[in-house]
Amino acid sequence: MRIEVDFDKCQSNAVCQSIAPSIFEVRDDGYLYVLDEEPSNDLRDLVERAARECPTQAITIVD
């Protein structure tokens, strides 16, 4: 599983961070950072939820 974020679409709503804080972090500069772009499969449910609930649909999971 690989995570791709479209940073042009990301508005740093931090919904993803609230769902999967070990993967997504909005830092002091206001931008989102992906802490682990290829997380282990036991995190798949959380990452999929983050992608589904992203208000601007900026997160894609590439298998």
Partner: protein, 374 residues
């Protein structure tokens, strides 16, 4: 193709340039923009930037700024199609391929002329507005569309006293149906925004707008948010266009041979609807920019067949719009978060209120209804 010129340095122009670079590493790509700033996100202008939660530097589009040449402070003034050249404030600019992505300008009828009147479209507009607002500042927002309601929400949070004036009988009169609109109106009233629907401005007095029924609304700032018009006056004589729809493109973004258009400056055809689909969403500009560039450079061409998608944040609530809901459709409340919209029995749109978790399923359902599933 040796030189691609993109007029307009907003999201659509930026995405078009990145996509063109992806397909041709040697192409000369020039993006000209009338503003002084590098390409930036506009959605936070009425929300996070006003509230102070988004800094101006954060607005900048982050991906691959060195993929193309950006020329700021250059305004396009005309197009010589025969000579394949854009006439600009900086002189003529020849091209082999052209993408028009000049966006749209707020409508501002002369009726609203007044020292306190403002519109919001650019980062400079937003920063100037923020500097005006102090606690107790009286704001009258004309128009209860997305921009007016987002501004009402943000300015109220900054301590302003906000009244929204809407000529139609409810908020979001074009974007959603009456059921969804009633919920949105209740958020605003709950937070202390004064909504005046079925109310139109008859005149501007020195102290602020005067409604048709004679009511005076004292205002320190009057915000006019009654819609936008595509910023295509500079090219309207040279290309097929319409004042409300902008440049008329097919479902591939092509306007005429070698010329494409994307985002708010254009209206594309869409395979799911017989009439062109005007969609002023951020997501639409992003997608159309990509497709416009790809279809100029590559074959076979790829049609715009996304389910249109947009969102709005107001008072901490999330509105998501899918497909083409609207006042002319039959509205059906499916559950407390979801309104479905039908035309001639066909499901054509959804409005989701605070239901982000349902978005993907509703989008898939809509794609099936519209014949857009893979």
């Amino acid at each position: 193709m040796r030189r691609l010129v993109i007029v307009g340095a907003g999201l659509a122009g930026h995405r078009a340039a990145l996509e063109a670079r992806r397909w041709d590493p040697n192409l000369e790509i020039i993006v000209v923009g009338a503003e002084a700033h590098p390409p930036y996100q506009r959605p936070p202008l009425s929300k996070g930037l006003l509230l102070g939660s988004v800094r101006p530097e954060r607005l900048r589009l982050r991906s691959q700024p060195d993929a193309y040449e950006h020329r700021p402070n250059v305004r396009a003034v005309g197009l010589d199609l025969a000579e394949r050249a854009v006439e600009t404030s900086g002189g003529p600019l020849s091209f082999d391929g052209l993408i028009v992505a000049t966006g749209a300008d707020p409508v501002l009828p002369p009726l609203f002329a007044h020292p306190a009147t403002r519109t919001l479209r650019t980062v400079d507009d937003a920063l100037a507005l923020r500097a005006r607002i102090t606690p107790g500042h009286r704001v009258v927002a004309i128009g209860a569309g997305f921009i007016g309601l987002e501004l009402a929400s943000s300015l109220l949070a900054l301590g302003a006293a906000v009244t929204v004036v809407e000529a139609e009988e409810r908020v979001l009169p074009r974007a959603v149906g009456p059921g969804a609109a009633a919920i949105v109106a209740s958020w605003h009233e709950h937070h202390g925004v004064t909504l005046r629907t079925t109310a139109s401005v008859a005149a501007m007095a020195p102290g602020g707008p005067v409604l048709a029924d004679g009511t005076e609304l004292p205002a320190d700032t009057v915000l006019v948010g009654i819609g936008v018009r595509p910023a295509v006056g500079w090219v309207a004589n040279a290309l097929p266009s319409d004042p409300r729809l902008g440049l008329l493109a097919d479902e591939y973004g092509t306007v005429v041979d070698g010329v494409a258009a994307a985002g708010d400056a254009a209206t594309w055809r869409h395979p799911a609807w017989s009439a062109p689909v005007r969609s002023e969403h951020f997501e639409t500009a992003a997608t159309q920019g990509v497709l416009a560039a790809r279809n100029l450079l590559c074959a076979p061409r790829e049609a715009w067949r996304d389910v249109p998608f947009g969102w709005s944040d107001q008072h901490g609530h999330l509105i998501q719009v899918l497909g083409v809901p609207g006042a002319d459709a039959e509205e059906e409340r499916r559950n407390e978060h979801t309104w479905a919209y039908y035309r001639n029995g066909r499901l054509e749109g959804f409005v989701l209120l605070d239901a982000a978790e349902d978005l993907v399923d509703r989008r898939d359902e809509l794609a099936r209804s519209l014949g857009l599933s893979e």
